[in-house]
């Protein structure tokens, strides 16, 4: 099959490279394999980072009816290079009263987990950098470390804006981590595995020959996907949930006292976080690297993956260009009063769907459950009332 | 599914503990939460209940005090299940009817537990324990949260029922010393085989148990505590008293008196039927003469229980006993138990709503409500029509079957008892006329109609009434096997 050759081209390349080491000891082979994976992932995503950073500015520009960067290189495509150079040669300022060690470690702690998290996502058929049994768990386990990093940044700077920003960030990240994880649970339940590869595998095939079996096409999956995506927005501190770095209130939140390359690292971590969450969303709900229609399978799997990823990233940017920032208490209330119950509902709906043998009746039932809870919640929460004046609980 | 019944009994007790310790405002929520769980358990019980199998099911048996023959035996047959379901239905309804504090909720939950126990226990000691356990919370609830005259009514209620209980306990001790067992099934077998006791002792024992149960039902002329108690009790308690507690008496008759003393009952048959007829006719007449709405409903409650009694006595007291008629009467009685539970509770609920709005509940204190609160009036009339036995609502089928059975078995008594149907109708129509129609009275002109929360309570209950009235098979399924078995037992 010709398609397979292109599809597996990267995998074969890696095997070919490793074949030079057949005589080396076992551990050396493993190290080499890992290094190759890491190098590939880093290379791809660094490029993507550069690309997205400029594309984001251009898309935002279009949304706001202006051009965006268009001076450096063709269509302004070399802008990130220029930015990088600028950041590298800037002075690295460390405040006098800062906790130096913590201040220094924070950006590293921030970037490392996001890069680690990228390792477990299957980018294509047989293309998972770090295929472990509990990949999903791994993703969240390392992901949860970023909160600590934010805290370190906030504390280490010894600046009240930083501290406030860090507190806000931690509060909202902790709150939204729960819906984020709980919305993953239905998928894990249905597939019966924590391994991303198995999850993607389970979404393969086509119902009645053409309809893809992606989970997003089930009612619970759609609901969970939306919840997951919103939580993902919060986790990566993107608009409309970017209160931690709300420049109009607290300068730049926990990043206030950072400059130069450390700042760039934060920036990179944010984008990598975005990639990781979007990648996981693609894996969990959008069928991973599967093609949407059977006859489109000739296009290699990784292309599909990156197409979907790109689409999600575009939505990220789109939302940033469209929605205003939410107030911090609304963000928190939304998590506990709406996201959590809905997330639990997804579990219930998925269970019903599963026990109705994945059939049409299950589909309708789960739709019913999701809808009932959604309508009930929206009735109960009465958004209009929630938009009334805020009472300040902790400010005295 | 062993342990289900025990869980059902214990959960409300745990709930009482929680509710008793909670903050005042939360107690009702906690009580409702526990009721939701017990309701789930009750439904589970229903689903696990094999409707085709005769006899006790889901039995749990542990040694308790072997020295006095006390044993922990709980199990359900159709009748028990029916009553358990009824209890699970009425209690949330009662809790929803009124917002009260923690003491109230805790006592109600204790009562609930006791009721579950009473309806599932099959050993006299255990049964009696639960039977009495329900009495004390009821007393306290009336005494503390009652309306006017609560002290008097509560004391009367307590002494009356307690005296009955004491008599019953003594009788049972007598039986125990004679036969050496407290187990219902064993006693029923003995009663079937021959007289339990000899001579006057038998009559004494019979009289004791009869007194205890007749007071509880209540049967004329042991009913005078009831109007006072129901009138003064808070609405939720009234609902439970009439909806469930009064069923304990009927249940006792079915479970204890009839199987144990078939001989005595047959001899006394005409008299007992006479008492039942008096219950029906006098109570409905008295209801007609009441000027207090709640008291009227209370009297009609006596009247409706009288139907149950006439059905039961007709089954056991008559000489010729065709199976069809016995089954009809028993089915009717069981259905009536359930129906009356719902309907009377609903009526008390509505009375409570009116009282909440007006502060008074005399029939003359209202007028022309239909113009102001059409929904309240409409739904309330449904309950009233259900209570007066309008077909297509739940009251009819039960009464029809009771009368069908008892007419064939005891025609004369039934002929008089049917008058009760007429007087009930008169009483209700009079109430409706005074409350709903005519010009809108000044004092009622600011009444709110049914609030949304109230609608959420009213609508399901009313739908249930319609469901039973139109497609009652699901209830019959519960107790049909039991009915057949009992008819065989009494034949």
């Amino acid at each position: 099959m010709r398609g397979e050759a292109i599809d597996q081209i990267f995998v074969r390349t890696k095997h070919w490279l490793l074949s030079f080491l057949t005589n080396a000891p076992d551990w050396a082979q493993q190290v080499a394999s890992s290094l190759l994976n890491i190098a590939a992932v880093l290379a791809v995503f660094m490029t993507l980072f550069a690309l997205i950073s400029v594309l984001e500015r251009k898309i935002l520009g279009r949304i706001q009816n202006r051009y965006g960067p268009n001076r450096v290189g063709p269509f302004g495509l070399l802008q990130p290079l220029a930015d990088g150079i600028k950041l590298l040669i800037k002075e690295d300022i460390v405040p006098v009263r800062a906790d130096k060690v913590v201040h220094f470690l924070a950006p590293i702690m921030m970037a490392a987990p996001t890069i680690l998290a990228l390792g477990v996502i299957p980018y294509g058929r047989n293309m998972t950098a770090f295929a472990i049994d509990g990949g999903i768990l791994f993703f969240f386990a390392v992901g949860s470390a970023t909160e600590l990093a934010v805290f370190m940044a906030g504390w280490g700077s010894n600046n009240k804006f930083s501290m406030l920003g860090a507190m806000r960030a931690i509060a909202q990240m902790v709150s939204y981590e729960l819906p984020l994880i709980i919305t993953v649970l239905p998928v894990v339940m249905i597939v019966g595995s924590l391994s991303p590869d198995a999850i993607v595998e389970a979404q393969g095939g086509y119902a009645s020959g053409f309809a893809p079996r992606w989970f997003v096409f089930t009612p619970w999956g759609a609901a969970a996907f939306i919840l997951f995506f919103v939580s993902g927005l919060v986790e990566s501190n993107r608009t409309p949930f970017d209160v931690p770095e709300g420049e109009s209130e607290i300068v730049a939140g926990h990043m206030t006292e950072y400059s130069g390359f450390k700042y760039a690292t934060f920036f990179l971590a944010e984008y990598f976080g975005m990639f990781a969450v979007s990648g996981l969303a693609v894996t969990l709900f959008l069928g991973g690297w599967h093609a949407p229609l059977p006859w489109l399978e000739v296009i290699p799997s990784y292309i599909w993956f990156f197409l979907k990823l790109g689409a999600l990233l575009f939505v990220f940017v789109w939302i940033r260009g469209t929605l205003p920032r939410m107030r911090v208490d609304h963000v928190m209330g939304f998590a506990w009063k709406f996201m959590m119950p809905m997330a639990f509902t997804c579990i219930l709906a998925a269970a019903v769907w599963h026990y109705q043998a994945h059939g049409i009746s299950g589909w309708l039932w789960s739709l019913g459950i999701v809808l009932v809870v959604y309508l009930g919640l929206s009735r109960l929460l009465n958004t209009r009332r929630n938009l009334s004046t805020r009472t300040y609980r902790f400010a005295e | 599914m062993a342990g289900l019944i025990s869980a059902l009994i214990l959960l409300p007790l745990a709930g009482a503990l929680f509710a008793g310790m909670a903050r005042e405002n939360y107690a009702r929520g906690i009580a409702l939460f526990f009721n939701a769980i017990t309701a789930i358990l009750a439904v589970t019980l229903w689903r696990n209940f094999d409707i085709t199998a005769a006899g006790l099911q889901i039995v749990e048996r542990h040694a308790w005090i072997p020295a006095i023959g006390a044993e922990y035996v709980v199990g359900i047959d159709g009748l028990s299940l029916l009553l358990v379901l009824l209890t699970s239905l009425i209690f949330p309804f009662a809790f929803l009817a009124q917002r009260r504090g923690r003491g109230y909720c805790a006592l109600m939950l204790v009562m609930q537990s006791a009721l579950y126990g009473t309806f599932t226990a099959h050993n006299f000691v255990l049964w009696f324990l639960f039977y009495e356990m329900s009495l004390i919370p009821a007393f306290l609830l009336i005494k503390i949260w009652g309306g006017e005259n609560r002290d008097r009514a509560a004391t009367k209620f307590f002494i009356y029922t307690f005296l009955g209980s004491v008599a019953m306990l003594l009788s049972f001790l007598g039986i125990y010393f004679a036969k050496g067992t407290f187990d219902f099934a064993a006693l029923a077998e003995l009663g079937r085989a021959g007289p339990l006791l000899n001579g006057n002792l038998a009559w004494l024992a019979f009289a004791g148990i009869f007194l205890g149960l007749a007071v509880k039902v209540p049967l004329f002329p042991f009913h005078t505590w009831l109007p006072d108690a129901y009138e003064t009790a808070p609405v939720g308690v009234s609902m439970v008293l009439t909806g469930v507690l009064s069923k304990m008496g009927v249940y006792g008759f079915v479970r204890l008196l009839l199987p144990l003393f078939p001989h005595e009952i047959r001899i006394l048959g005409p008299w007992l039927l006479g008492l039942a007829v008096c219950s029906i006719v006098f109570a409905s007449l008295a209801a007609w003469a009441q000027s207090d709405l709640k008291r009227m409903v209370a009297y009609l409650s006596i009247n409706h229980l009288g139907y149950c009694m006439i059905g039961l006595f007709a089954v056991t007291a008559s000489a010729a006993r065709p199976a069809v008629e016995m089954q009809a009467a028993l089915s009717g009685v069981f259905l009536q138990i359930f129906n009356h539970g719902i309907t009377a509770a609903a009526l008390f609920y509505y009375v409570g709503l009116l009282e909440q709005r007006r502060g008074l509940r005399g029939l003359g204190d209202f007028g022309g409500l239909m113009q102001r609160t059409p929904l309240l009036c409409g739904w309330m009339s449904v309950a009233m029509f259900s209570s007066l036995g309008l077909p297509a609502l739940n009251g009819f089928i039960g009464e029809f079957l009771i009368f069908k059975g008892s007419f064939a078995l005891a025609a004369a008594a039934t002929s008089i008892a049917v008058l009760g149907l007429l007087f009930t109708a008169i009483a209700f129509l009079r109430a409706m006329q005074m409350l709903f129609s005519g010009p809108l009275s000044e004092s009622c002109s600011a009444f709110p109609d049914l609030l949304r929360t109230e609608k959420w309570i009213v609508v399901p209950v009313t739908l249930l009434m319609f469901a039973i009235g139109i497609a009652p098979q699901f209830l019959f399924n519960i107790f049909n096997t039991t009915v057949i078995q009992m008819a065989r037992l009494f034949a």
């Binding site: 969240f140 949860s144 600590l148 805290f151 370190m152 | -």
Partner: protein, 160 residues
């Protein structure tokens, strides 16, 4: 299970733990605690309990550590970092360590090599959790809920 890995992890873990217990600045101690926890997670990996290792990272680093630092933040006072040290505790701890290690070393049956086992998959853990350990699991669920509510009630502002 390589010895070199063990040595490295052990050193990192114990050092992290010691730092966590002894550092003056509370915040540094908390961060070192994270290091110690990561070390323990690494031990789990080494012992073949990957799932537990991931859970360890997830819960301790993601939740417990964050909780602790958050609390530090909420209860920050200028004089809190140095509020004295109880040397009696050190003696007790050392004594306990001495006796424990003495006892461990004395017990010769403990110096065994690990048997070869097949990997413990997440699926198997899940199955066992949902069958043999279903009641404990439920209880833990209730416990966590209770803890959540309890914690909320504790930190709720008192009514004025």
């Amino acid at each position: 299970m390589s010895a070199s890995a063990f040595v490295v992890i052990a050193i990192v873990t114990v050092a992290g733990a010691l730092a966590a217990a002894c550092l003056r600045k509370l915040i540094h101690a908390a961060l070192c605690l994270v290091v110690a926890f990561l070390g323990i997670a690494a031990f789990y990996f080494l012992l073949g309990a990957e799932f537990v290792g991931l859970v360890q990272v997830f819960v301790y680093v993601g939740a417990v550590a964050v909780l602790i630092v958050f609390t530090i933040l909420l209860t920050r006072r200028e004089d809190e970092d140095d509020v004295g040290f109880n040397w009696g505790g050190v003696i007790v701890a050392l004594a306990v360590f001495g006796v424990l290690s003495w006892a461990i070393l004395k017990t010769t049956s403990l110096s065994i090599a690990p048997p070869a086992i097949e990997a413990l998959t997440v699926k198997r853990i899940g199955q066992i959790l949902m069958t043999d350990y279903i009641w404990p699991l439920q209880c833990v669920g209730v416990l966590l809920t209770a803890a959540l509510i309890g914690a909320l009630v504790l930190v709720m502002e008192e009514k004025r």
